[in-house]
C-alpha cells in the first residue's frame, strides 16, 4: 500500500516541481532475534580426516562475545561439528574455538602420544552472525602446539587523569605463564607498524609482522630470569610520577626502563635500561599510542630483523605475543596487526583517563593462568587504575 502512496504523491508533487527522488528501503523479511545461527567448525590440519574420515570438528569448545554488547556465549560443537545458537542479535562476535587433542588421538594420527596439541581458530577471530543470512558460518581450525610462556600481561598507555597532557607514566608488563623459569634476555619489544597519516598498515601480510620502535631486553642469555608467575614492569620513565601527576603511579621500582639516550629523557640509574635498536616514533621518549596501537614481544636475533620501506619486518613464527588496542573496539576492520597474532583488540580507553588493559586471570587445570587465546577482545579487561607488578 505504501508504494501506491509513493506513486500517487510523487506523481503529483514532482510532476509539478520536477525535483527530488525518494530513496526508500523495502522492509526486510527477517526479524531480529528470531533466527537460529549455525557455526560449522572445519579442520584445517587433517587430524579429523585421519581420525574420523571427515573434516568437521566435533566436541570443540566455543566461546563467543558480542563486539557491541556485553554478553557472552559458551557452546560445544555437536557430532557434525556444528554449534547452534539462538536468541541472540546479529553482530560481529569475537570467537575462540578450541579442541584439545588427547594423547590417544595423537598416537593414532602421528604415532606419538603427545598431549600438547590442540585445534584453534588462528585464521579468524571474529565471525559475523547475520540473521538475514541463513547459511552456516564456517570457521577453520588449525593445529597449535603449546603457547608462549611469556605474555604481555598489562598495558598502561593512556596517561593519568587530571594532569593535563602528562604522558610519561606509560608502561608494559610481562608475565611468565609457564611452570619453569624463563629468560627475558634479548627479547624484542616493538610496535606494530602503521602510518595513520597515509593510512598504511599491513594486517593482511601472510608471513611477516611489520614493526617499528624496536627495543630489546638487555642481557646475554640468562642474565634476566623471570620466575613462574612473576610480573616484570617496563616503564617509559622509572620514577615516582605522583610528584608531577597526583593521580599517577610510582614506577621508581620498575624492573626495566625505556631510556632514550639521544633525547632529553629521564634515566633512573637504579633501573636497568632497555636497549634501543631503532626508534623514530618519538623524538623524546618511548611513547606507545595513548588510545590505539599494537605491541609485540618477539624472540629473534637483531641482525635477522629485515628492513622494509621505512620500517622493519619479522616472521610471525618469531612472535611470542602481541596485543592490539583501539579506542573503538567494535571497529576491528581498522586493525593494524594481523589476526594471526591477535584476532581482536583490547582497549576502549580514552586519553588521560588513568585506565589500563590487563589480561584476564583464569583457572586452567587448577592453576592460575592469564587468558591467552590470541584474541585481546576476549583476553583482556579494562582496569580503573594501573596495577604495575600485580594483578587487579
Amino acid at each position: 500500500m505504501k508504494k501506491y502512496f509513493k506513486i500517487l504523491t510523487l506523481f503529483g508533487l514532482f510532476s509539478l516541481t520536477g525535483c527530488g527522488l525518494v530513496d526508500s528501503l523495502d522492509k526486510p523479511d527477517t526479524i531480529e532475534g528470531h533466527e537460529t545461527f549455525k557455526i560449522l567448525l572445519k579442520d584445517n590440519s587433517g587430524f579429523m580426516e585421519k581420525l574420523y574420515g571427515k573434516e568437521t570438528v566435533p566436541n570443540a569448545s566455543v566461546f563467543l562475545k558480542s563486539s557491541a554488547f556485553d554478553y557472552e556465549i559458551n557452546a560445544v560443537s555437536d557430532t557434525a561439528g556444528i554449534v547452534t545458537i539462538s536468541g541472540v542479535n546479529s553482530d560481529n562476535y569475537h570467537i575462540t574455538a578450541s579442541r584439545n587433542m588427547t594423547a590417544d588421538e595423537m598416537l593414532k594420527i602421528t604415532g606419538v602420544a603427545s598431549s600438547n596439541y590442540k585445534l584453534t581458530n588462528q585464521q579468524a577471530g571474529v565471525v559475523t552472525l547475520n540473521a538475514s543470512n541463513k547459511a552456516a558460518v564456517e570457521l577453520k581450525l588449525d593445529q597449535t602446539i603449546g603457547g608462549s610462556p611469556i605474555v604481555l600481561s598489562e598495558l598502561y598507555v593512556c596517561g593519568p587523569s587530571g594532569s593535563g597532557l602528562y604522558f610519561h607514566d606509560k608502561y608494559i608488563e610481562v608475565y611468565n605463564q609457564s611452570d619453569s623459569v624463563q629468560y627475558l634476555d634479548k627479547i624484542i619489544v616493538a610496535f606494530a607498524f602503521s602510518n595513520n597519516y597515509l593510512g598504511i598498515s599491513y594486517p593482511n601480510d601472510p608471513t611477516y609482522a611489520h614493526i617499528k620502535s624496536i627495543w630489546m631486553f638487555p642481557g646475554t642469555g640468562k642474565d634476566y630470569p623471570i620466575k613462574p608467575g612473576q610480573y616484570i614492569v617496563c616503564a617509559e620513565d622509572a620514577i615516582d610520577h605522583r610528584v608531577s601527576a597526583p593521580n599517577s603511579i610510582d614506577l621508581s621500582k620498575a624492573d626495566f626502563e625505556f631510556y632514550k639516550n639521544d633525547a632529553p629523557d629521564i634515566d633512573n640509574p637504579n633501573v636497568p635500561n632497555m636497549i634501543k635498536i631503532n626508534d623514530l616514533v618519538s623524538a623524546v621518549d618511548w611513547v606507545p599510542g595513548g588510545e590505539k596501537g599494537a605491541i609485540i614481544l618477539a624472540k629473534i636475533a637483531v641482525d635477522s630483523i629485515q628492513p622494509y620501506d621505512d620500517h622493519f619486518i619479522i616472521p610471525y613464527a618469531n612472535v611470542l605475543d602481541g596485543v592490539e588496542y583501539m579506542l573503538d573496539v567494535t571497529k576491528l576492520d581498522k586493525k593494524i596487526m594481523s589476526s594471526k597474532i591477535d584476532a581482536g583488540a583490547a582497549g576502549g580507553i580514552q586519553f588521560y583517563t588513568g585506565k589500563s588493559m590487563e589480561r584476564i586471570l583464569i583457572n586452567a587445570d587448577g592453576k592460575a593462568r592469564l587468558k591467552d587465546d590470541n584474541n585481546s577482545s576476549l583476553d583482556f579487561h579494562v582496569n580503573d587504575h594501573p596495577t604495575p607488578g600485580y594483578h587487579y
Binding site: M1, K2, F5, K6, L8, T9, L10, G12, L13, L16, G20, V22, D23, S24, L25, K27, P28, T30, I31, E32, G33, H34, A68, F69, Y71, G87, V88, N89, S90, N130, A131, S132, S161, G162, G164, L165, L327, D328, T330, K331, K334, G348, I349, Q350, F351, Y352, T353
Partner: protein, 508 residues
C-alpha cells in the same frame, strides 16, 4: 497521553502549524465556539488551496510566546524542562478578490533543561535511532521559522494554493563535550479544489517534508579532564556505548502524503468538512567516523489519516458540533548493519468529540464539550527483545465561556478535565541475554504510555480592542497532569504553562 505528545509537538514544531496560528485561541475545543465559516477544508485537513476560506481578518500581528513544560512525570528520553521563547510577525493580505497571501516570520529559542543523555532534536517521534552522550545538562536551539501561503480562485470554480514552512536552527549542549547541531526543516504542500456549487466543494492536496539534522561531536578543551562516552540508542535497551570523542551524525527525514477533502453546507444549519488520505515518512541516519560513513539505522512509518467536523446551527443561539479524527500508523526500523527488522509498532488512534454552545445573551456565550481519545500500542522491540502493548483511553470533558464586557474588552475562559486509563497493558521481556524488566534502561518510556492519570487545564484569554487600530490579546494556558502512583512517585507531575501576547494591527 497522546495529548501530551501533541502539546509538545505543537510547542516545538511551530513551523508545522504556523499557517494556523492566526486562528482564535479556542484550541482546547474542536466542536464549540466555532463559526460555521471555520468548518471548511482549510481548517479540517489543511488544504492550502482553501486559504481563501481562512476566517481571520486581514492583519499584521506581532506575537510573543513563552512556554514552559516541567516535571518528573516524563519519559526517560524527555528533559525535565522544555522551554520555548518565540517572537513572530504575521501578515495576511487579500491581493484582489481572487488571491490571498499569508506569511509569517519568527525567531525562537528552545531550551531543554536537565536533559540526560540525549542530543537528538526530534527525539520523540518513534524513530528509535537516538544519539547522545553520557553527560547531563542543558541544551538549547536558536533559530528562525518562516511561513508563506498563497491561494487563488480560477474561473470562479477552481481553487489552487500552496504553503511552505521553513525553519533552521543551531543547537548546543551547554556542558562538555559541547556537541553542536544544525537543523533544517522544510514542509511544502499544494492542493486544488473544485467548487461544485455554493454548497459543496471537493479538493485534493499533497505535502512533502524534508528534515535534516547534523550533530557534531568534537573534542573541546575539557576532553583532557573528562571522559566522554557516546551513546547510540537503537532500542529500549542495549545502547551502543562507545568511548569515542568525535563523531558526526547525519539524519535525513522526509515524508510524503496525499489527501482528498470535501466541504458540504447543504443548508443553512449544517456545515461539514472531511478529509482522508495517507502517506509515509522515513528517516535515514548515517554517521561519519574517521572519514568513513556508516549507516546508523533506517526507520519508516506508513500512515492513514482522516477526519470529519460537523457544526449544527440549531437555533440562532444554540449550536452543536461533532468531531472525529483518526490516524493509523505502521512503523518499522531496520538494523544499521544487517537486513533485519529490529522494531515494529502498529499504533492507531481515534478521537471523537461532541459539544454544544449557547448564546445566553449578547455578551455571554458558553459551551460544553465531551470526547474520548482511544489509542492502541503494539510495540515490538526485537533488538532488545522487549514487547509491550497498551490501550490508553482518554475521556475528556471541557467547558468554556466567551464574555464581552463592553465594546472594547472581552475575554475567553475555559476549563478542561481529562482522565486516562490504560487497559491490556503488557510488558514482556525475554531475559535470555541477561537483565530483567526492572533493569531496562528506558523503562519509563514504556510506563509513560501505560499510566493512568488525571489532567486539568485552564485557559484565560483577555482581549482589548484599540478602537480602529487593532487588538491586544493575552492568552494564558496552564495544564497539570497527575499520574496515578502505580509506577510513579507520589510527587510526580507534569505542568505546562504557556503565555502568548499578541498585538494585532488592522489592515484596510
Amino acid at each position: 497521553m497522546k495529548k501530551i505528545a501533541l502539546i509538545i509537538i505543537i510547542c516545538f514544531n511551530s513551523v508545522l502549524i504556523f499557517s494556523q496560528q492566526l486562528k482564535e485561541p479556542t484550541k482546547a475545543f474542536n466542536t464549540i465556539f466555532l463559526d460555521k465559516n471555520e468548518v471548511n477544508s482549510y481548517y479540517i485537513g489543511g488544504n492550502p488551496a482553501y486559504l481563501k476560506f481562512d476566517n481571520s481578518d486581514e492583519l499584521l500581528s506581532i506575537q510573543s510566546t513563552y512556554t514552559n513544560e516541567t516535571g518528573d512525570y516524563k519519559k526517560y528520553i524527555d528533559p525535565e524542562t522544555n522551554r520555548l521563547y518565540q517572537l513572530s510577525f504575521t501578515g495576511k493580505k487579500t491581493l484582489d478578490s481572487q488571491q490571498v497571501f499569508k506569511g509569517s516570520f519568527g525567531i525562537q529559542k528552545l531550551e531543554r533543561k536537565k536533559w540526560d543523555w540525549f542530543f537528538t532534536k526530534y527525539y520523540d517521534n518513534w524513530n528509535p535511532f537516538l544519539f547522545g552522550d553520557s553527560t547531563s545538562g542543558n541544551s538549547h536551539y536558536n533559530g528562525i521559522v518562516m511561513n508563506a501561503g498563497y491561494s487563488a480562485v480560477l474561473g470562479g470554480k477552481y481553487l489552487i494554493g500552496a504553503n511552505i514552512n521553513y525553519s533552521v536552527d543551531e543547537g548546543l549542549k551547554e556542558v562538555t563535550p559541547h556537541p553542536t547541531s544544525k537543523n533544517r526543516d522544510i514542509d511544502f504542500s499544494f492542493g486544488g479544489g473544485y467548487l461544485l456549487n455554493d454548497k459543496i466543494s471537493f479538493g485534493a492536496y499533497a505535502s512533502v517534508y524534508d528534515y535534516q539534522e547534523i550533530i557534531d561531536y568534537a573534542q573541546d578543551d575539557f576532553a583532557l579532564y573528562q571522559e566522554t562516552i557516546l551513546l547510540k540508542y537503537t532500542s529500549y535497551n542495549r545502547p551502543y556505548v562507545l568511548p569515542v570523542k568525535t563523531e558526526n551524525r547525519y539524519s535525513y527525514q522526509n515524508g510524503y502524503s496525499g489527501y482528498a477533502n470535501m466541504t458540504a453546507k447543504p443548508n443553512g444549519w449544517i456545515s461539514t468538512a472531511l478529509y482522508v488520505g495517507g502517506g509515509f515518512e522515513q528517516a535515514t541516519i548515517n554517521e561519519d567516523i574517521s572519514y568513513v560513513i556508516y549507516s546508523a539505522g533506517h526507520y519508516e512509518n506508513t500512515f492513514y489519516k482522516g477526519g470529519v467536523s460537523a457544526l449544527f446551527n440549531i437555533t440562532d443561539r444554540l449550536n452543536a458540533g461533532l468531531y472525529y479524527d483518526f490516524k493509523i500508523n505502521d512503523m518499522w526500523a531496520r538494523h544499521p548493519s544487517y537486513d533485519v527488522v529490529i522494531m515494529q509498532n502498529n499504533f492507531p488512534e481515534h478521537i471523537i468529540k461532541a459539544g454544544v454552545d449557547y448564546q445566553f445573551c449578547k455578551s455571554i456565550k458558553a459551551g460544553v464539550e465531551a470526547g474520548i481519545d482511544i489509542a492502541k500500542y503494539d510495540y515490538k522491540d526485537y533488538f532488545s527483545q522487549i514487547n509491550w502493548s497498551a490501550k490508553p483511553k482518554k475521556t475528556m470533558l471541557g467547558m468554556g465561556s466567551q464574555v464581552k464586557c463592553n465594546d472594547y474588552f472581552s475575554f475567553f475562559i475555559s476549563f478542561n478535565y481529562s482522565h486516562q486509563s490504560s487497559e491490556d497493558n503488557s510488558f514482556l521481556f525475554s531475559p535470555e541475554n541477561g537483565g530483567s524488566a526492572a533493569n531496562i534502561i528506558r523503562k519509563n518510556d514504556i510506563l509513560f504510555y501505560q499510566t493512568n492519570y488525571n489532567q486539568y487545564a485552564v485557559s484565560f484569554t483577555p482581549a482589548y480592542q484599540l478602537k480602529s487600530l487593532g487588538l491586544v490579546k493575552l492568552n494564558i494556558n496552564y495544564s497539570y497532569i497527575k499520574p496515578e502512583k502505580e509506577f510513579w512517585a507520589n510527587s510526580a507531575k507534569r505542568e505546562t504553562f504557556e503565555a502568548n501576547l499578541e498585538f494585532r494591527l488592522n489592515v484596510y
